[in-house]
C-alpha cells in the first residue's frame, strides 16, 4: 500500500511536537476524512529555524507531515511556499491514489502558517510581497 519511504517517515516521524512560542501556527482539517494537522514554525529573518507538527490522521497524514517539516526546515519562507502537495508526494515516492488528498493536509497547513505569519509581520513592518504570497497560498 504505502511506499517504503512513507513507512519510514511514519515509523520515525521527524519533528513531532509543539513549539510553545511559535511565530506561526497552521492548522487544517481534512474535508474528506475529518483528520487534522497542526504545524508550529519558528521563523527568523524570513527563515524557518524550527518546525514541529502534531497530526491526527492516517499513515499518509503522519508521513507527509514529517516530510514537510524536513523539506522546509532551514529554508526561506518564500522557498518553503513552493512546496506543494505534489512535492511532498514525490519526495515520499508516491502515495496510494485514495490517499493523495491526505498530502494536501500538510502542505495546506504550511501555507496557512506562513500566510498568517506574513499577515502578522505586515502589520508590524511593511506590506511588500504580500500580493505574491496571497496568490501562492490561494
Amino acid at each position: 500500500m504505502y511506499s517504503e519511504k512513507v513507512m519510514e517517515h511514519f515509523n520515525n516521524p521527524r519533528n513531532v511536537g509543539e513549539i510553545k512560542d511559535a511565530d506561526a501556527v497552521g492548522e487544517v482539517g481534512n474535508p474528506v476524512c475529518g483528520d487534522i494537522i497542526k504545524l508550529y514554525l519558528k521563523i527568523k529573518d524570513d527563515t524557518i529555524e524550527d518546525i514541529k507538527f502534531k497530526t491526527f490522521g492516517c499513515g499518509a497524514a503522519v508521513a507527509t507531515s514529517s516530510m514537510v517539516t524536513e523539506l522546509v526546515k532551514g529554508k526561506k519562507i518564500d522557498e518553503a511556499l513552493k512546496v506543494s502537495k505534489e512535492t511532498v508526494a514525490e519526495a515520499l515516492d508516491g502515495l496510494p491514489s485514495n490517499k493523495m488528498h491526505c498530502s494536501n493536509l500538510a502542505a495546506d497547513a504550511l501555507h496557512k502558517a506562513i500566510k498568517s505569519y506574513n499577515k502578522k509581520d505586515n502589520s508590524d513592518n511593511s506590506g511588500k510581497e504580500n500580493d505574491t504570497l496571497d496568490k501562492a497560498t490561494s
Partner: protein
Amino acid sequence: MKNIYLDNAATTPVAPEVIKVMEPYFNIYYGNPSSVHTPGQDAARAVSEAREKVAELIGARDEREIIFTSGGTEADNLAIKGVAMSLQDRGKHIITSSVEHHAVLHTCEYLEKYLGFDVTYLPVDEKGFVDPSKVEEAIREDTILISIMLANNEIGTIQPVKEIAKIANEHDIYFHTDAVQAIGQIPVDVEKLGVDLLSLSGHKFNGPKGVGALYIRKGVKLAPQMSGGAQERRRRAGTENVPGIVGLGKAAEMAAHNLEEKRLKLKKLRDKLINGIENEIDEVYLNGPRGEDRLPNNVNFCFRYIEGESILLNLDMMGIAGSSGSACTSGSLDPSHVLLAIGRPHEIAHGSLRLTLGYNNTEEEVDYVLEVLPGIIKKLRAMSPLFDS
C-alpha cells in the same frame, strides 16, 4: 518478528484439513460436475457431499436448500435481489438495518437506484441492537423482505434474529439473515431461527476464499442473479468451483464439530483482551455489547484522540495484524457506518481498532498485544493535536 493474526473477521487461514481434501479436486478429480462421464460424476458426488455438510451445519432439512455461491457478498446479493426481482409485483419495500454489511446495504441501494425500491434502514441502539418492535412498526403493505444480520462484523453484536424472523413470518414476509460472521462462532439453526434465507462465506471460518452459500427455504421464490447454465437447480449458473465447494464442506463439518470448544476458548481470550485494554489505557470505549450477546471472537474499541490506521500500522510493525473496521471498506476514508450508527461522534469513530480472534490464537499472543498496545496508543496520542498531555 512476531506473527500474530487478529483479523479473523476479515478472513481466516484455511485449515490444513480443508486444504488436504481440496487438493485432489484440482488435477485428479477435475471433471465438470455437469458432465455425464466418470470424471464429471466424481466431481458431482463431491459437490453433493459438501452440500449435505453445509446443510447439516445450519440445520437445513434438505440439502437442496443450499445453493453454492462465490462468497458471502454473492449470497447476500442473490438473496436480496433475487427476492426483489421475483416479488416486485407484490411490493417494492424492504426493511433492513443501518449496521448491515455493505453487501446488504449497497444491494439495497442498488434496488433503490435502479429499480425504484424503497428501503427502510432501521436505527440501532448504542450497543448495536435492532429493536424487534421497530421492525414490526416499519412493516407496510408492500414490504416483501426483511434482512437483518445475525452478528455484526465490526462490533460483534448478535441480533435478536429469532424474534424478528417470527414477526416477519407472522406478516408473511420473507426473512433473510446475513450469518457470514456468525457461522463457526455460535450455533446457527435455520429451523430454530425460523429464517427463510441465510448467507454464509467459507473464508470466515477457515474454509477457502471465493466460495459461500445461500440457504433458501423450500418454496421461497427467487430469481437467479447469475444467468447461464443449469447448475445449482437453475438458481446460480456457472461451472461449480469444485475444490472450493469441497473445502467449504469440510470447513462446515469441522465448524459443527469444534463449535463449543472454540466458542469457549475465544470468549476467554476475548474477555482477557477487553479487560486488559480497559485496565491499561485511559479514555477507551468498547464498541458493542458485553457477554453472551457479543461474538466470542470480537473485540472493538475506540481510542480517543487518535486515528485508526495509525494504530494498525504501528501494530503491524510489532507483528500484530488488526483492523479498524471491516476490511473491505479500508479503502474508504469515512468513519465506520456502524460506529456512527451506535452514536460515536465522528472523531472518536475514527480511532477504532478491531481485534478478532481465531481458533489458533493463544493466550501468549493476547498477553503480547496487551504489552505493546498501551505504548502505541501513548506514542500516537503524543503526536495528536487533539490530545492535551
